[in-house]
């Protein structure tokens, strides 16, 4: 063997963050794997294993490279730097730690290592980079949460020194959980498995629909030295799961027939190194492809996917009031059209991951999830255990956006760890994540909208068909939510909206930020612009004229006496609208080339919490004898900021500084059920529980001290000091555990919908209006966004910086929906064919925070998470039409689609 040859087991010597290491490994092992699993550098993240996401970025001899496309042996003798090392010892790294915290440049934090490592390389060369330089340097790192603007701000302000003080409700403080994210110590789903855990990989269907039989699995397992192979036969409980009662229809592993490409049929477990060398295509399974349906039209006439659902119709939704047909017949103008959107992939940078271990008679699953209690109950059913037999410990979540509500890794991990009595880990590959976990429903909408000559809305008729894929997941929620929201935040006396969700042999559609509402807004808000054009009315004005106000009835007949803030949002946009309109007109008047500017506006609204259903949250907190204040905060923070918001609310209610609050993180053994992180419910519902809990604890303290409401509380070791006016009181603290504690729940008041969809589905609606300014290259159909201005009524901004972060991130997802994203099963199953916006695709976002208060929300706060992305796509589409006359009905508005629409508009 020559000296320049290395084989398995020979050591690779290199410098990691200033320390000389010599570690043996298969030489062609990906550097990312090598650093994470052998050098302990779990701050190197893996989002795609294909160079597409940049999460794995490290510096090799000072240059940023993707460690997932580098061979371990290639760093022999070289210098490797990663986020944790840079945060500790590099001056630029340290400056970035502070700047990222100050600007809340990390939300979930999974992209943060890649961002910061890339930024250090930039700052070493350019001390004060321009925006364009930051974009070029960070263009290789994808972020799905932040919309990138705060990252740009942080990098450009790395040398800055402003400080953000912590504070209660209303304070733009840094995230309470931010430091681990910006220093490389945060532990996500794939970062927590103990050494020696076995690895699990899933065998999935390569066909949209296929019958299958297994060969000699046991012989194959033994020949490959694996520990276990699982199939449906190994499920001890019920081989079915789902999220909506009555709709638990998805097997953990299919039995006899796979219903979508990517569906699990078996799982293999073994040592990680062994699995890495294994080609899973050799697994002994024989496929017989069967006819399949990929669209709702095909689904309606295809073989039934579920016996009990005739015509493959999973469910329908309806909201109607007045007489839509008659109103449309009497309208001055009726505009109508067909609109469609495709499957949208959540694109969180952290693939589904976790590990499980058996502890006595219980199974513990550590995983990235948005819904620990729902996961617990569902895993228990699969395992044939009581719910208490399962413990779910959420890790940090590297983005969720709805798809981490459903079970993914959990049942596999639980089954394998239970059977083997050893810890078992797994992380989905990017392709698995895209092809098998839930997606946003593709939509086909036909809508007619009538307007009166005075610009008021006469009536509307909406029909939406949703491709719900092979299994139910959150399909029923989408079918219910859409008819309620398809009116937009406008007054309609005569309205009918129907929806239908149809099964196909596609990846199941489920929850994705907005539950169908962004799709319906694409149709409804574009038609509103078309109506304004028919009337010759300004597009902001038509919205103002029809905006719901306090005291109006919504399309479900619900009346809000306070907090209907859409008019406030539209009014907040007005000066920006007038400016942008004038600027675009001036630009176009002078334009000689192919570029034309346009502006567009759209509104959105979204009911916070579950539709007409109880969805309580519970918060527990205690004060120990040594004066610690402990908040059992079970609302999973998936990057949106609930750890911070709930802490701020609780601290304010109790009347103590927020930095005194210690958090017990979500864990079904330690924190009460705070419900799922979805439906924009955590700030509103868990926030209310936290407020009630803080108030209850405060009331106990005040009672013990016999002081008034106005007393100031100071909690110290052994005693609580109370100052009430001039008087001072001391309440001693003693005992084991909590000296004082409180547990409070909140469930929003809603009323069921009747057969016409009339009722009070939500206690709170949040509203928004956004405006897009852009430039279309009319010869190429390319769209360059110039600016998004986003007005949001959040009731009360608990943390204004977090509000901006949510808005910017939602806007970025809206940009993706509008311009580039579409998951096509079997075709765009990776992050180079499935495109999400990069740092160069999100323009400056100006967030206008509107605070109209709210009757129910904590301190008047409403939810926000999902609202942010609802108006973005239609605002962009309206702006494209404004710029060049091209109306895009079928998304995404890729350059080819826009160009085709321009050519069509010209003829």
């Amino acid at each position: 063997m020559s000296l320049d040859q290395v084989t398995d087991g020979l050591a690779i010597s290199f410098d990691l963050n200033g320390e000389r290491l010599s570690l043996s490994a298969p030489p062609a092992e990906r550097l990312s794997e090598f650093l994470r699993e052998r050098a302990g550098a779990r701050d190197v993240k893996v989002g795609c294993n294909a160079g597409d996401c940049g999460a794995c970025t490290v510096l090799v001899d000072g240059l940023p490279v993707c460690s997932c496309t580098t061979a371990a042996a290639q760093v022999e003798g070289r210098r490797v730097e990663t986020q944790s090392g840079l945060a500790k010892a590099d001056p630029d790294g340290q400056a970035l730690v502070a700047a990222f915290q100050r600007h809340q440049a990390a939300q979930c934090g999974i992209c943060t290592p890649g961002m910061m490592v890339s930024a250090v390389a930039l700052l070493r060369e350019v001390a004060e980079p321009s925006e364009a330089q930051v974009q070029d340097a960070l263009g290789g790192v994808l972020c799905r949460c932040t919309g990138y603007r705060k990252i740009i701000d942080a990098v450009r302000d790395a040398k800055g020194s402003a400080s953000v003080a912590p504070g209660g409700v209303g304070t733009a403080m840094a995230r309470v959980d931010g430091l681990p994210k910006v220093t490389g110590t945060e532990a996500f789903g794939d970062d927590v498995a103990p050494a020696g855990a076995l690895t699990l990989r899933v065998i999935r269907s390569p066909h949209h629909r296929a019958a299958f039989t297994f060969g000699d699995i046991e012989a194959w397992r033994a020949a490959n030295g694996l520990d276990l192979v699982l199939t449906a036969a190994d499920v001890p409980g019920v081989n079915r799961f789902g999220v909506i009662p009555g709709f638990e229809d998805q097997p953990v592993m299919a039995e006899g027939e796979a219903k979508f490409r990517g569906e699990a049929v078996a799982a293999v477990v073994g040592a990680g190194e062994r699995l890495a060398m294994l080609d899973l295509a050799d697994f002994p399974v024989r496929w017989t492809p069967l006819p399949h349906a990929l669209t709702p039209e095909e689904g309606l006439t295809a073989a039934l996917l579920h016996e009990e659902r005739a015509g493959n119709i999973m469910c329908r939704g309806l909201v109607q009031r007045g007489d839509a047909e008659a109103a449309l017949a009497g309208a001055a103008h009726v505009v109508e059209g067909d609109f469609s959107t495709g499957f949208i992939e959540h694109g969180y940078i952290e693939p589904e991951a976790g590990f499980a271990e058996r502890v006595g008679d219980r199974i513990e699953v550590h995983c990235c999830t948005q819904a620990p209690y729902m996961n617990r109950d569902a895993v228990a059913k699969v395992m044939g255990l009581a719910p208490e037999g399962v413990r779910i410990v959420p890790t940090a979540v590297g983005g969720g956006f709805g798809s981490k509500l459903d079970l993914t890794t959990q049942p596999f991990l639980a089954l394998a760890a239970w059977k083997l009595g050893r810890p078992v880990r797994m992380a989905f590959t990017r392709t698995e994540s895209i092809s098998s976990s839930t997606k946003r429903h593709p939509s086909q909408v036909t809508m007619r909208l009538g307007v009166n000559a005075d610009g008021t809305l006469a009536g509307a008729d909406f029909f939406g068909t949703f491709n719900t894929g092979a299994y139910a997941s959150w399909g029923p929620t989408v079918a219910n939510r859409v008819p309620i929201h398809a009116s937009g935040p406008y007054r309609f006396a005569d309205y009918r909206a129907r929806s239908v969700a149809v099964h196909t042999n596609c990846t199941p559609s489920g929850a994705f930020r907005g539950f169908g509402v962004p799709q319906s807004a694409v149709a409804q808000e574009q038609l509103l612009d078309m109506a304004a054009e028919a009337l010759g009315l300004d597009k902001l004005e038509i919205r103002r004229r029809n905006a719901l106000t306090n005291g109006d009835e919504t399309v479900t007949g619900q009346v809000f006496d306070t907090g209907m803030g859409i008019l406030d949002c539209l009014d907040a946009l007005k000066p920006h609208w007038d400016r942008a309109k004038a600027e675009a007109a001036a630009f176009n008047a002078a334009a000689i080339g192919t570029k034309r500017r346009g502006i567009g506006v759209a509104s959105g609204w979204y009911g916070c919490g579950n539709t007409s259903m109880s969805n309580p949250s519970t918060i527990r907190a205690g004060i120990t004898a040594d004066g610690r204040i402990v908040l059992h905060q079970g609302a999973v923070d998936i990057g949106q900021g609930s750890n911070t918001v709930i802490s701020q609310i609780f601290a304010t209610a109790l009347g103590v500084p927020v930095e005194r609050i210690e958090r017990v993180s979500p864990d079904t053994d330690l924190t009460p059920d705070a419900g799922k992180t979805s439906a924009s419910r955590q700030t509103f519902i868990t926030g209310n529980a936290a407020r009630l809990c803080g108030e209850a604890l405060r009331a106990q303290v005040l009672r013990l001290g016999n002081v008034s409401e106005a007393a100031v509380i100071e909690i110290t070791p052994g005693a609580i000091r109370l100052t009430d006016g001039g008087a001072e009181r001391v309440v001693p603290l003693s005992g084991e555990g909590y000296a004082l504690e409180a547990t409070e729940s909140y469930d929003p008041p809603t009323k069921p919908l009747d057969e016409n969809g009339q009722g009070d589905p939500y206690a709170v609606f949040g509203t928004t209006a956004q405006m897009a300014e852009l430039e279309v290259d009319t010869a190429l159909g390319t769209v360059k966004l110039l600016k998004i201005t986003a007005a949001h009524d959040v009731g009360k901004a608990i943390n204004p910086l977090l509000v901006e972060g949510q808005v910017e991130g939602g806007v970025a997802q809206g940009i993706g929906l509008a311009l580039m994203e579409e998951f096509l099963p079997g075709r765009t199953e990776n992050l180079h064919d499935y495109l999400i916006p990069t740092i160069g695709d999100v323009p400056p976002v100006d967030t206008l925070i509107v605070e109209t208060g709210d009757m129910h929300g904590p301190y008047g706060a409403k939810g926000l998470g999902e609202h942010c992305l609802i108006p973005t796509a239609p605002a962009i589409l309206n702006a494209i039409a404004d710029a060049c006359g091209a109306r895009v009905h079928h998304l995404p508005a890729t350059p080819a689609t826009v160009r085709a629409a321009i050519l069509a508009a010209a003829t």
Binding site: D4, Q5, V6, T7, P26, P27, A28, E29, R30, N49, A50, G51, D52, G54, L63, P64, V65, C66, C68, T69, T70, A71, A73, Q74, E76, S118, D136, G139, G140, L142, A276, M277, L278, D279, L280, A281, T431, T594, A779, L780, G781, T782, L819, M820, E822, L824, R827, H832, D833, L835, P837, T838, I839, G840, D841, T894, P895, A896, R899, A900
Partner: protein, 278 residues
């Protein structure tokens, strides 16, 4: 698993001769191509061979070593002739990809959407190969023979590209994609224009990528542009016969759109290569 990392070309050729072994340079095509499967049983890492990396002056032109990275090209002090290649280098993926990805890797991977190829074609680049049977040199247009197919023989590696001088020549490149970074081209166009004394086009070399199995030059258009004044470019391009291009419909765009867009970009790139604002 075998992993060779020779430091000289001689050793590399010896290793290539000895057994089936797959070259590895930046790894930015090789690793994603594994699709989460196991790595090849034997690899030879070319990135430690000093003589294979870097851009040097040679008789009558320039030599670009096989493992020269896109970043090396972005940072090299090169004349305007290379402006197209430099622009293409900046458009390859991201900084991370440019730091690792190599010129030879790009042409050996032979993707129809390889961004380096149109620019290299307009530079009249030739490819040097070395292998058990010795060395040979052939035009880039003959080296890439189809989608993911090249003229590389058994045990051969690319050692360098050669670009002849073209005094006064200026290059330009435009890539059309659906997002700003990390994007596979819908189409791209590269041009080198050598102006005549009178400000008209002396010589034009035009290549289009992502619109045929292999990026190609457009000799008919090049001939029509010779002697053309800046004001005449639009007319020539509008009339150009693009039937040599055979784009496909895919998720990135339709064939019709690609042709339509290419015609538009052609005009812009030629004007830019002439040193005019587009």
């Amino acid at each position: 698993m075998l992993f060779h990392r020779p430091e000289t070309l001689e050793n590399a050729i010896g290793i290539m001769q000895a057994g089936p072994v797959r070259p590895l340079a930046g790894g930015t095509d090789l690793y994603p191509g594994l699709r989460d499967g196991p790595p090849p049983a034997a690899l030879i890492d070319l990135s430690r061979i000093a003589g294979l990396r870097g851009i040097t002056r040679e008789d009558g032109g320039w030599r670009i070593g096989a493992t020269t990275t896109w970043t090396d090209i972005v940072r090299a002090d090169l004349p305007a002739l290379f402006d197209g290649l430099r622009a293409a280098a900046r458009e390859v993926g991201s900084v991370q990809i440019q730091n690792a990805g190599t010129v030879a890797g790009n042409i050996c991977n032979a993707s129809p959407a390889a961004d380096g190829v149109p620019a290299l074609l307009t530079l009249d680049a030739e490819v040097s190969l070395a292998g058990p049977g010795g060395s040979r040199r052939l035009p880039l247009g003959d080296f890439i023979t189809g989608v993911r197919r090249t003229a590389l023989g058994e045990g051969e590696i690319v050692t360098a590209l050669h670009v002849p001088d073209a005094p006064g020549g200026r290059g330009a490149f435009v890539k059309l994609g659906a997002r700003r970074y990390l994007v596979i081209s819908i189409a791209m166009v590269s041009a080198v224009v050598i102006p005549a004394q009178d400000g008209t086009i002396g010589e034009a070399r035009i290549a289009v990528g992502a619109c045929s199995a292999v990026a190609r030059r457009l000799p008919g258009l090049e001939a029509a542009l010779a002697g053309c004044a800046p004001e005449g470019i639009a007319t020539v391009v509008a009339a150009a016969d693009l039937s040599a291009l055979t784009p496909i419909d895919d998720v990135r765009g339709s064939a019709g759109y690609r042709l339509d867009a290419v015609r538009e970009i052609l005009g812009r790139v030629i004007v830019a290569a002439l040193g005019r604002e587009g």
